[in-house]
C-alpha cells in the first residue's frame, strides 16, 4: 500500500483524493492546505488526517509519496521539501511557472533519488491516447496539419490566482500546456512558436489564444485555448495526414445529455453533459504513476517531457508579449 500525503485541496486536490479513494494500492493518509477548513473537510471525507503544514504531516505520518496540487508558483517549494524528505513526488502540471524552478525540482528529485511524476493527464484521456496510438502506428501516414482546442469559462480558484499572469502564466502556460505535451508526445519537439492572446489587451477575466506551432518533423500545428466562453468546457482535436483524418469534438462525444426543468422561482434549468467511464483519466494517470513506483518502470510522461511542454508554453507567452516568433531550435537532451 502506497501511503500518500496530499498538498492542496482545491479543484485538483479534490479530484486526486477522489481518484485515490477508488484505488487498491494507494491511500491518502495526510492532507495539507493553508486553508485549514478546506483541508479538514477533505480529510474527513476520505478518512485522512489534516495538517497545517507539510512539515507537520511528515513529522506525524509515515508517507511514501507527496502529491502536490497547490497553485503552480508553490510547486517548487513543496516538491523540494518532499524530495529532501526522500519522498516520491506526484506534481500537477505545469511542472512550474519558470524553467528555472522546473530544473531545480528535477535536480532535487534526482539528487535525493526519488521519482517525479507530472500530471499531464491528457495522455490518459482515452480519446487522446487512441489518437496518439493511431499516429504512432502510422495509420494516418505522413501528418500535415494538427489542430487542438481547449477551454471554456474563466476558472475560479483560490485567491483568483489563475487571473494573475505572474502566477498562472495565463491559459498558455496553465491550460493549453496539456495540448503542447500531447502534441509533443505524438509529433516530437517543436522548432517554432508564434502566438496571440488577450494578454495586455486590457480586458478583465477573459482570455483567448491562438498558437502556431512548427515541429521539427515539419508538422504544422494550431492550438487554440479559451477562457472566454460563458459556460462549459470543450476540447477538440484534429489530425490530418496523407492517409487519413482523425477528428474529435468533446461536445459531439457526450453520450448522456440531461436537461432539467427549472424549479419554480429558480431561474434557468441546467444542462449536464456526462461521459461515464469505469475510471476517469485522473485515476488512470495516478494508477499509472503508482504502478511505475511499484515496478520501477519509466512513466508515460517523464519530467523532461513536462519541462519541454513548459518550454513551449513559455515560448508562446513570450511570443504574445514580444510579437515575435520564438525559435526552440536548440532543444537539448
Amino acid at each position: 500500500m502506497w501511503r500518500i500525503g496530499l498538498v492542496g485541496t482545491g479543484t485538483m486536490g479534490s479530484v486526486h483524493a477522489h481518484a485515490y479513494s477508488h484505488m487498491e494500492d494507494a491511500k491518502v493518509v495526510g492532507i495539507v492546505d493553508i486553508d485549514e477548513v478546506a483541508g479538514t473537510e477533505l480529510a474527513n471525507r476520505y478518512g485522512a488526517v489534516a495538517y497545517s503544514s507539510l512539515e507537520a504531516l511528515l513529522a506525524a505520518q509515515e508517507v511514501d509519496v507527496i502529491d502536490v496540487c497547490v497553485p503552480t508558483p508553490w510547486h517548487r517549494e513543496y516538491v523540494e521539501k518532499a524530495a529532501t524528505a526522500k519522498k516520491h513526488v506526484i506534481c500537477e502540471k505545469p511542472l512550474a511557472r519558470t524553467l528555472e524552478d522546473a530544473q531545480a525540482m528535477m535536480d532535487a528529485c534526482e539528487r535525493n533519488g526519488v521519482r517525479l511524476f507530472v500530471g499531464h493527464v491528457v495522455r490518459f484521456f482515452p480519446e487522446y491516447q487512441m489518437a496518439h496510438d493511431a499516429v504512432a502506428a502510422g495509420n494516418l501516414g505522413q501528418i500535415g496539419v494538427v489542430r487542438t482546442m481547449r477551454g471554456g469559462q474563466y476558472p475560479t480558484a483560490w485567491q483568483d490566482w489563475y487571473a494573475s499572469p505572474a502566477m498562472s502564466g495565463t491559459l498558455l502556460v496553465d491550460m493549453v500546456i496539456h495540448d503542447f505535451d500531447f502534441l509533443r508526445w505524438c509529433f516530437g519537439d517543436v522548432s517554432r512558436v508564434y502566438a496571440k492572446s488577450m494578454l495586455g489587451r486590457d480586458i478583465n477575466r477573459l482570455d483567448h489564444a491562438f498558437v502556431s506551432l512548427r515541429f521539427n518533423s515539419g508538422v504544422i500545428g494550431h492550438v487554440e485555448g479559451t477562457w472566454a466562453y460563458p459556460s462549459g468546457f470543450h476540447t477538440e482535436l484534429e489530425i490530418a495526414g496523407q492517409g487519413g483524418l482523425i477528428a474529435h469534438k468533446s461536445d459531439d462525444a457526450v453520450p448522456v445529455h440531461l436537461e432539467l426543468r427549472a424549479e419554480q422561482g429558480q431561474g434557468q434549468g441546467v444542462m449536464v453533459p456526462d461521459s461515464p467511464m469505469l475510471k476517469n483519466p485522473y485515476q488512470l494517470e495516478l494508477e499509472h504513476f503508482i504502478e511505475c513506483l511499484t515496478d520501477g518502470k519509466e512513466a508515460r510522461v517523464t519530467p523532461l517531457d513536462a519541462y519541454r511542454a513548459l518550454e513551449i508554453g513559455l515560448a508562446a507567452l513570450e511570443s504574445v508579449q514580444t510579437g515575435q516568433v520564438v525559435e526552440l531550435g536548440g532543444v537539448k537532451e
Binding site: 505522413q142 502556431s212 515539419g218 504544422i220 500545428g221 494550431h222 490530418a240 496523407q242 492517409g243 487519413g244
Partner: protein
C-alpha cells in the same frame, strides 16, 4: 439582361451558369460562353444552351451587358481589363488576381470605363454567415476580441497547383474567402500576418497546407486554416467555419451545417447533403441587382485586392518565418 461567361477553367462557372439560368424569369439570359479550351467550352455551351466563342474578345463584341470571369487566376487581369474596355460589367472569380499590380490594373480599368467590378465572394451570401454579421452589428457579442476561421478542402489538382496560373496553392485558394468575411464583419483591415506554409498531403509543386495568425488594425486577432487537408473519404468538399469571441459571448458558425447525413454506396459512401440556401445563386442574383441599379455594390474590386494582399503577406511570412505587415496598396 444579357450575360456571358469568360472561361470554364474554374469549376464554379457551372454553379454560376445555373444561377443565371435560374434568373431567367427576371429576364436574365446566359447568351454565350467563351473558352479557349474548345471541348470544355462547347460542352458547357451545349449544357446551358447558349452560344460559344473560342476567343473571348469575340464574345466581348456582342451586346452582353455583363460577364462572369472564371479563368485561371493569373488570367483574370487580362480578361477583366478587356471586358472593362468593352464596357461590360464584371463579376470576377476569387482571388481577384495573383499580383497586387494586376489587381490594381483591373480596378483602374473598371473605374475608368465606368463598369462594375465585383469579386465572387459568395460566403458573404451564406445565410449563417450573414446572421453572424447581423449579430456582430447588433453588438450581441459585445466587443469582438478574437476570430478563428477555417476553410479546409481538398487538392483540386489541374491548374490550381500550377503556380504560374494560380499564384499559389491552398493558401491562395482558401485564404481569401474567410479573410473577406472577417474584414466585412470587423470593418477593419488586416495589419499583420504570420503564416506557416508547406506541402504535406501530396507531392505537388505548390503549397497544400498552411496556418495563418493575423492581427487587424482594430486590435482583433485571428487565425485561419486554409489547408487542403480533407481526405478523399471526407463526407463533403471541405468547410467554412468561424468562431467569434466577444466580451459578451462566443458564437460558432458553420456555413454548411445545414445538411443531412447520407449513407449510400460507392467511393464516398457517407456524404453530407446540403439543404441550406445556395450562396452562389444569391451572389449572382446580387450581381444582377447591382448591374440593374437595384442594389449598391456589396463586394468591390478593392475587397478582392485587400484579401489578395493578405494571402501574399502569408506567403511572404511563410518564407521568412516572421510576422509580416500587410503591404496595402494606396488607391488613387
Amino acid at each position: 439582361m444579357k450575360v456571358g461567361i469568360l472561361s470554364f477553367a474554374h469549376g464554379h462557372a457551372h454553379s454560376y451558369a445555373k444561377s443565371v439560368l435560374a434568373l431567367s424569369t427576371r429576364g436574365v439570359q446566359l447568351v454565350a460562353i467563351a473558352d479557349d479550351d474548345v471541348a470544355r467550352g462547347k460542352a458547357a455551351a451545349n449544357q446551358y444552351s447558349c452560344g460559344f466563342y473560342r476567343d473571348y474578345q469575340e464574345l466581348l463584341k456582342t451586346d452582353v451587358e455583363a460577364v462572369i470571369v472564371c479563368s485561371e487566376n493569373a488570367r483574370h487581369a487580362e480578361m477583366v481589363v478587356a471586358a472593362a474596355e468593352a464596357g461590360k460589367h464584371v463579376l470576377c472569380e476569387k482571388p481577384i488576381a495573383t499580383t497586387q499590380k494586376d489587381a490594381l490594373r483591373m480596378i483602374r480599368a473598371c473605374k475608368e470605363n465606368g463598369v462594375i467590378l465585383q469579386i465572387a465572394f459568395p460566403v458573404r451570401f451564406s445565410r449563417p454567415i450573414a446572421r453572424l454579421k447581423e449579430m456582430v452589428d447588433e453588438r450581441k457579442l459585445g466587443r469582438i476580441v478574437a476570430v478563428r476561421g477555417t476553410n479546409r478542402g481538398q487538392n483540386p489538382g489541374g491548374w490550381f497547383i500550377d503556380n504560374a496560373l494560380s499564384g499559389g496553392g491552398a493558401v491562395m485558394d482558401h485564404t481569401v474567402h474567410v479573410i473577406d468575411v472577417m474584414r466585412w464583419i470587423l470593418k477593419s483591415e488586416v495589419r499583420e500576418v504570420y503564416a506557416e506554409v508547406d506541402t504535406h498531403f501530396t507531392s505537388i509543386p505548390t503549397d497544400d497546407c498552411g496556418q495563418l495568425v493575423l492581427e487587424f488594425e482594430n486590435g482583433v486577432f485571428a487565425s485561419h486554416d486554409p489547408s487542403w487537408s480533407r481526405p478523399a473519404s471526407y463526407p463533403t468538399w471541405g468547410d467554412v467555419t468561424l468562431e467569434v469571441v466577444g466580451t459578451s459571448g462566443v458564437t460558432n458558425v458553420n456555413a454548411f451545417a445545414q445538411h443531412f447525413d447520407y449513407f449510400g454506396q460507392g467511393p464516398r459512401p457517407y456524404s453530407h447533403q446540403f439543404w441550406g440556401d445556395d450562396m452562389d445563386y444569391l451572389l449572382i442574383r446580387n450581381f444582377v441587382d447591382v448591374v440593374e441599379g437595384k442594389s449598391a455594390p456589396l463586394i468591390t474590386g478593392v475587397d478582392g485586392l485587400r484579401a489578395l494582399e493578405v494571402a501574399l503577406a502569408a506567403y511572404e511570412s511563410g518564407r521568412t518565418h516572421k510576422p509580416v505587415p500587410v503591404h496595402r496598396a494606396v488607391l488613387e
